[in-house]
């Protein structure tokens, strides 16, 4: 964990109330794992008082001189955020060149090592802003494939097996579709009002895909060959959505990892303010989480 003053590289509106913040924080970028977060102090005074937690959305190299093929030097971390309250309103006003006091990387990330071995299908399920940590995860799954799979065809096989389900109220809240496609993932969309893709909850879409794949038991291009026996679900979104994902995973006897949200005060495990009820008692979302195996949570 590091506490540092990170220089703002960029803070751009993506669309509507969604912004992308790019910070220079090499120590954090080098260590960061998908699912981890940073605590950002927005403003120097008492309003807001506490730091605000943000998932690490992506990490990238700082400048072209660092484009070394073997081991990239990650310098930048990216945060995707929605302007909702006082904190994010202030954050949206920050300009390139300013500094932000940040702490990270925090928490336990996704365990994605077992994925991407070419056999397992991977399903990423995002509800609204839940897309934020999943882009980083998709990037890692695709780019850290075992070397034996680096050949074109095998690689294509794995990326095709990474399905991303994006859910939102309307098409306007669908984020990062292009980014996932650029990574080679298959993207499916669900909107509550049917303004894009499947009409209904993203969890219903998830169920449909699993049912179809279960019934056919064949590699269907349309559903990116979800081999159900080996599928892993990674989900991030509102609590009811994660609960539904957990139930679906249980029903099909597949594993799911969920990213939980909580009111985080310290973010470093000291205050015990952000616990969640698990089969092993209360656990800290900021420390043992925010990623938990869905079956571990008492929903």
């Amino acid at each position: 964990m590091f506490q540092l003053k990170a220089k703002l590289f960029d803070n751009q509106r993506v669309k509507d109330n969604y912004f992308r913040l790019l910070l220079r924080a090499p120590q954090i970028a080098e260590l960061a794992q998908p699912g981890q977060f940073v605590q950002v102090k927005i403003g120097d005074g008492c309003q807001p008082l506490l730091r605000r937690p943000f998932s690490i959305h992506r990490i990238s190299q700082g400048s072209p001189r660092h484009h070394v093929t073997t081991s990239p030097n990650y310098e930048l971390i990216e945060i995707l955020y929605e302007v909702l309250g006082q904190g994010t309103q202030l954050l949206a006003q920050k300009k390139a060149g300013e500094y932000l006091d940040i702490i990270g990387p925090l928490g336990n990330g996704f365990n994605y090592r077992a994925t991407g071995d070419g056999r397992r299908a991977t399903v990423l399920v995002a509800g609204g802003m839940g897309v934020a940590p999943l882009l980083f995860l998709a990037d890692r799954i695709v780019t850290t494939l075992p070397l034996r799979l680096r050949s074109g065809q095998a690689r294509h096989h794995v990326t095709r097996k990474t399905v991303v389900l994006l859910g939102a109220k309307t098409y306007r809240q669908i984020l990062c579709e292009k980014d996932f496609k650029a990574l080679g993932c298959a993207v499916k969309i669900a909107t509550d009002d049917g303004s894009r893709g499947f009409k209904g909850k993203v969890t219903e879409l998830l169920k449909n895909i699993l049912v179809t794949s279960h019934k056919s038991q064949v590699t269907s291009q349309a559903y990116a060959s979800c081999d159900i026996k080996y599928a892993t679900i990674y989900a991030c979104g509102p609590y009811p959505m994660l609960k539904a994902v957990s139930n679906i995973a249980k029903h099909y006897d597949i594993t799911a990892q969920v990213s939980l949200e909580a009111h985080v005060a310290c973010g470093i495990g000291a205050c015990l303010g952000c616990v969640v009820n698990t089969r092993g008692g209360y656990q800290r979302v900021c420390k043992e989480g925010p990623i938990f195996n869905a079956e571990k949570i008492v929903w």
Binding site: L49, A265, C266, I268, G269, C271, V275
Partner: protein
Amino acid sequence: MKQTNLEVKIGKLRLKNPMMVASGTFGYAEEFKDFIDLRQLGAIVTKTITLAPRQGNPMPRTCETPAGMLNSIGLENPGIDKFIAEKLPALKKIGAPVIVSIASEDDPQEFTALARRLDKLKEVAGIELNISCPNIRGTTSPRHHVTRLIAQDAKAADEVVRAVRKVTKKTLITKLSPNVTDITEIALAAEKAGTDAVSLVNTFTAMSINVETRKPKIALAVAGLSGPAIRPIALRMVWEVYQKISVPIIGMGGIMDTSSALEFFLAGASCVSVGTANFINPRATIEIIAGIKQYLRENKIKDIKALIGNLNI
């Protein structure tokens, strides 16, 4: 110029500087080892320990309020046995004096039982009696027929401090509640009963409501308010207590930086504790120690003790 002297004495305990951490805001110190050199702290006060493990209160437990925050953790802790077995060894290794905060949901006898256990351990430098946690049930006093905290009843405070004093010679600190009409009454009772120091203040009982859902923002509705919002009241209470008692005061309540820490010394505190600020800036304690040193040097004050209660009034 000679180096400034930051040393202070609390009971038998000689602290290299007056910087402590408020119980419950610093975990068991390990959470902060990535950020600061823990040895530099005057003393470490642990999260409150109870006899049996406690799960703590339901969620949500915290929320932000104007210049402050509410918490209702409910003394979640692994219990004394697990604390001694699993947390204390690492705390001891740090090298800073360890003060163990203890409490009981509703049985004053437990304080004595806990103190007896801790008295035998040489790695424990002192004991803080948390008789003022606002997020527990409290005791039903036969005299009053109402449930209240020990720190809200001078007689009850006297009994607990007296009983613990009998079983331990370790430095004893009593943590007071601001949720009383006259805090000096309780401070005096604790002093008479043999406490070596008082620490004040614990959090203020408070509420916050989400008007859309009409639900309280904290599961149990009422919680404890901390942070800069309470500082002026905490400071006033330290000043009032300072004029009445002679044992040292550990001042706390919204200390965020050097100047807010200095306020507490001037109001009469011998030591200060950083609480909520640890959540926002894990380096706050260390930065404030450096800031105090600088202030003393700039004002040509050789000893921190010269500052205590030295208010121009």
